[in-house]
């Protein structure tokens, strides 16, 4: 780290900035986007294991008819927390991990626009997640479904859904802050020459996602506040006896909830759009089409929410309108798939683990997309909605799609982030275990749903004839668990080997591969100047007049591709002689201020006094932050 506390300011310990760049406290106080990205990733993966375990209990319970392995109450808590966890505490933060780590690197910046605010987002997110999970020890976890339909969520006794509403508001604050920060970073912090249409597709998808977050989260926040007020103070937002309408909650929830689906899937689409060109050794087919279809998805995504509500009784006109808008959004989605196929066409495809996960993503996402179109056929959806057919559909999108895409990202950027390669052979094995487990779990659910198995039932009678495919799905779920376990072992054991990854192990196309693996704290010794889309590729390869692609002559290439050794030397130089690069110093205050949020949360659930204390901590944290000397 280039910056340390300001010496000679005795007596101002309160406002002095922390100095450590290694060890436990350096992680608490870090404002380095790369470290925050890693924190997001590790936290999300921990929640992934927890949410996955809940899923295993669900699958065990449903493996056979009429089972009572876990009680109905526990089952309801588990399926609710499985959804809440996987959406808000796994896929969103895992995407955040990649955005945090890669946005500055891919646009050629030294950090995000507001590094301390970035740390703040992470800590608020972490404490929000822990707050929700503390409900298990404090009288019962949320049990009304991740969708929390009123009036079940507002009228039922117990604090379960109070934890849900409060916790999601806290996590929402974190996401909103982070969205603004990252959007500003992308718009404002690009390296010279990095015009909008030279940005990697991953960055484009990142930009769309940040705007989706910034514009959809306030809507659910209002809904959650209304739920909270109904539940805690006895207001009447969703109270039919007073003239209120429970369907209002559904509108507010899905107005957020559907853009949320694209918030979850677009990052994975971005990752796949990065991985495919590298391993097909061809540029992305129709870059502009992919970018514009992503933007189109972002816009149309706000106009399809009521397709979650076809059975509510909104009337044929509304159902028609939302059915058609849902079909329309399938078009830009289809465009992306064709463009990915176009990228593979005439390529030189290398089946590395990230490539396998990306191809798996496409193959499985097609299934999820097609079943999605059958939901847009409104009368068919009258049969399908709230059945396992829907469960199958969105798991094909969010596991077969988003999680596989994120795994592709993990394999692809692991060498960059940790300086170590993941073993190629075991990575491939990992892909096949996960793909087989995934398809065995979720393909049968299509059948189960059409055969009349509703969602969210903790038990089903043998007479319904649903046993066989339920057992198969449970078997598949444990194969997935095996795959995740294998990944975990592989990932941890990679740290037992020395750092061996070169700066550019995949012969890649984007800027993050021009710097060391892992990159130095300041990312780039020199801020790169960008001349083209896939700039790094053009530094390495040139096209002859006949269209043949040839490597740039050896000397030039060496210069353009700093190897690991080179970058490490650069890093060592930085330690001693910062070249005048001023990186923002670490800070306690984001952590301190974030600590106030769960306290406010407990106040909302139990008694008002902690709210005052929590708010005071938040404010003190923010003022300490403001008064902190800038690190120069």
């Amino acid at each position: 780290m280039a910056s340390v506390s300001v010496p000679g300011e005795r007596g101002r310990w309160l406002t002095r900035r922390p100095a450590s760049t290694t060890g436990f406290w350096s992680w608490i106080t870090t404002v380095d986007h790369k470290r925050i990205g890693i924190l997001y990733g590790v936290t999300a993966f921990a929640f992934f294991l927890i949410g996955g375990s809940e899923a295993l209990f669900i699958r065990l319970q449903l493996a056979r008819p009429d089972q009572n392995l876990i009680s109905a109450e526990t089952y309801n808590e588990f399926f609710t927390m499985h959804g809440v966890t996987m959406i808000f505490l796994v896929v969103m933060p895992l995407s955040s991990a990649f955005f945090n780590y890669l946005i500055p690197l891919q646009i050629g910046a030294r950090d995000v626009a507001f590094p301390r605010l970035n740390a703040y987002s992470y800590w608020v997110f972490l404490f929000g997640g822990l707050f929700i999970y503390s409900s298990f020890a404090l009288g019962g976890a949320p049990n009304g479904g991740w969708f929390g339909y009123a009036p079940l969520s507002t009228a039922e006794a117990g604090n379960n859904m109070l934890f849900y509403a409060t916790g999601l508001i806290i996590v929402g604050v974190a996401s909103t802050v982070s969205a603004i920060n990252l959007a500003v970073t992308i718009i404002n912090m690009r390296a010279p020459g990095m015009t909008m249409f030279r940005m990697p597709v991953f960055i484009w998808m990142g930009l769309v996602v940040q705007f989706l977050l910034a514009f959809s989260l306030p809507i659910i926040t209002v809904g959650l506040f209304e739920m909270l007020f109904d539940r805690r103070f006895g207001t009447h937002f969703f109270d039919p006896a007073a003239g209120g309408d429970p369907v209002l909650w559904q509108h507010l929830f899905w107005l957020f909830g559907h853009p949320e689906v694209y918030i979850l899937i677009l990052p994975a689409m971005g990752i796949v759009s990065e991985v495919l060109p590298v391993f097909a050794r061809k540029p992305l087919f129709g870059y502009q089409f992919v970018v514009f279809s992503g933007i189109a998805i972002g816009f149309i995504g706000f106009g399809v929410w009521a397709h979650h509500m076809f059975a509510v009784g909104l009337g044929p006109v509304a159902n028609t309108a939302f059915g058609i808008s849902t079909m329309i959004i399938a078009v830009p989605t289809g465009v992306k798939i064709f463009n990915w196929l176009g990228t593979l066409w005439k390529g030189d495809i290398r089946f590395t683990p990230p490539m396998l996960f990306s191809i798996g993503f496409i193959a499985q996402f097609i299934v999820g997309g097609l079943s999605g179109v059958t939901h847009a056929v409104v009368p068919a959806d009258y049969q399908q909605t709230d059945t396992y057919y829907i469960v199958a559909h969105f798991h094909y999108v969010l596991v077969g799609g988003a999680i596989f895409g994120l795994f592709a990202g993990i394999y692809y950027w692991w060498p960059k982030i940790f300086g170590r390669m993941l073993p190629d052979r075991w990575g491939k094995v990992n892909f096949w275990i996960l793909a087989i487990g995934f398809n065995l779990t979720f393909a049968p659910m299509h059948v189960l749903g059409l055969q009349g198995m509703p969602r969210r039932i903790h038990s089903y009678p043998e007479s319904l004839g649903l046993t066989f495919w339920n057992t198969a799905a449970t078997l598949g779920a444990f194969i997935i668990a095996l795959g995740v376990l294998q990944f975990l072992i592989m990932a941890i054991s990679s740290f037992m080997r020395p750092k061996d990854a070169p700066a550019d192990p995949w012969d890649a196309r984007t800027l993050e591969w021009t710097t060391g693996s892992p990159p130095p704290p300041h990312n780039f010794d020199e801020i790169p100047e960008v001349h083209a889309l896939d700039d790094f590729w053009h530094r390495k390869y040139a096209e002859t007049k006949t269209g043949r692609v040839v490597p740039v002559p050896a000397g030039g290439a060496d210069q353009a591709v700093p190897g690991g050794v080179h970058a490490t030397r650069g890093e060592r130089e930085m330690e001693h002689e910062p070249h005048g690069i001023h990186m923002p110093g670490p800070s306690y205050w984001p952590f301190v201020s974030a600590l106030g949020f769960p306290l406010i949360g407990y106040g909302v659930v139990f008694s008002p006094w902690p709210i005052v204390a929590g708010a005071a901590i938040v404010l003190i944290g923010l003022y300490g932050w403001a008064l902190e000397p800038s690190a120069e």
Binding site: P240, F289, G334, D386, L450, F468
Partner: protein, 369 residues
């Protein structure tokens, strides 16, 4: 290995198809038995096959590219850097749009078709009330009130009004249009959202507090069709099942006459059970024609199912139990242990009945045919 994987996947796909058509699923949307479900199925089936076609083509292209353009060890050159092809891309934007437009037309027509209120002289009107966690069926024109089993005549459109029963905020009964005046004190389940679903007859329609939704069903042939609440409604959501029993016209008339009759006064061992019933069970249940020792009518409450013709129903307690002596005895003894969150109190633990009293009550219940 790749080839064998494909064979395995193919086999799985075939097995899936076979299973989808397997007849052992008794609540399947794939076996429509009435015009509503037929209409939906007639729409879904072609869309499904179009989707299968697209699936085969696109996955086929993916598989073909992956195999055809895989890296070969001998290859050293870099493939041509193709950045795109605008004409091609416009083409594959328009193509799915055209296919979807083709799907949209029958979809819209069917939406409006299904939303129409059935007309004609023989339409039957029934009110459906969703409770936590059982279904109440009220036939306003026939003066019949029953639970868990909806009886209808075949080939007759039945127009259902769907209401959520139970108490709203502050433990007050939540008003609904199916129960004009609610004479009910507190102590009901919560008034929450349910969804009425009999896959073989019709798609889902939500039951929303504060709204009165409608849906029509019709059965082509006599038989018992299974249904279930499809919107998460709390602890025993899984145990909120019901049957729709379709009868030929004359059979249905007989059923109506049977249901309209009042219960006879019990005699023998059941008479003691009737006393226990009148002392305890009428807090929530009613039996039409029940009288006390003086012959005065005993008016029961309506929080719980009307039990006048309990034994005529094949199932009880949200259709999770077959109606027989064993099950009734277990249920009256300790309902909450059998159905999580059940509002029916435990006979032994909460009402303080002795096992003998429970047997007597069950003996009485078995007279309610």
């Amino acid at each position: 290995m790749r080839k064998s994987t494909r064979w395995v996947l193919g086999a799985i796909a075939l097995a899936l198809l076979a299973a989808a058509c397997s007849p052992d699923a008794s609540q399947s949307s794939l076996e429509p038995a009435g015009p509503y479900a037929d209409t939906v199925d007639d729409l879904f089936t072609p869309v499904f096959w179009v989707a299968v076609g697209v699936f085969v083509l696109v996955e086929g292209a993916l598989l073909w590219f992956v195999i055809r353009y895989r890296h070969r060890r001998t290859r050293t050159d870099v493939p041509p850097q193709i950045h795109g092809n605008t004409r091609l891309e416009i083409g594959w934007t328009i193509l799915p749009a055209v296919i979807l437009a083709g799907v949209a037309v029958p979809t819209v027509a069917t939406i409006f078709d299904l939303a129409r209120e059935p007309s004609g002289g023989n339409v039957m009107q029934i009110d459906v009330l969703g409770h936590q966690w059982w279904w109440e069926f009220d036939y306003p024109d026939l003066q019949i009130n029953t639970a868990n089993e909806l009886h209808i005549p075949v080939n007759t459109p039945v127009y259902l009004s769907l209401c959520a029963a139970g108490s709203g905020y502050e433990a007050q009964p939540a008003p609904n249009e199916c129960q004009a005046d609610l004479p009910v004190p507190a102590g009901l389940g919560l008034s929450v959202i349910h969804s009425f679903w009999v896959p073989e007859l019709a798609g889902k329609q939500d039951v929303v507090p504060g709204r009165t939704n409608t849906v029509w069903i019709e059965a082509d042939r006599p038989g018992t069709y299974e249904g279930q609440c499809a919107e998460f409604c709390g602890l025993s959501h899984a145990y909120m099942r019901f049957h729709v029993v379709a009868h030929e016209a004359d059979e249905f008339d007989a059923w109506v006459r049977g249901q309209q009759a009042e219960a006879a006064s019990a005699s023998g061992p059941a008479a003691q059970g009737q006393e226990v019933f009148a002392a305890n069970c009428i807090q929530c249940h009613s039996v039409n024609g029940l009288t006390d020792d003086a012959g005065e009518p005993v008016i029961g409450a309506i929080q719980g199912p009307n039990l006048t013709h309990l034994m005529s129903r094949e199932c009880f307690a949200g259709c999770i139990f077959e109606t027989n002596t064993d099950n009734l005895t277990r249920w009256v003894s300790d309902a909450p242990s059998l159905k999580p969150g059940s509002l029916m109190p435990s006979g032994l633990n909460e009402l303080g009945l002795t096992p003998r009293q429970v047997d007597a009550v069950v003996a009485y219940l078995e007279t309610l045919e």
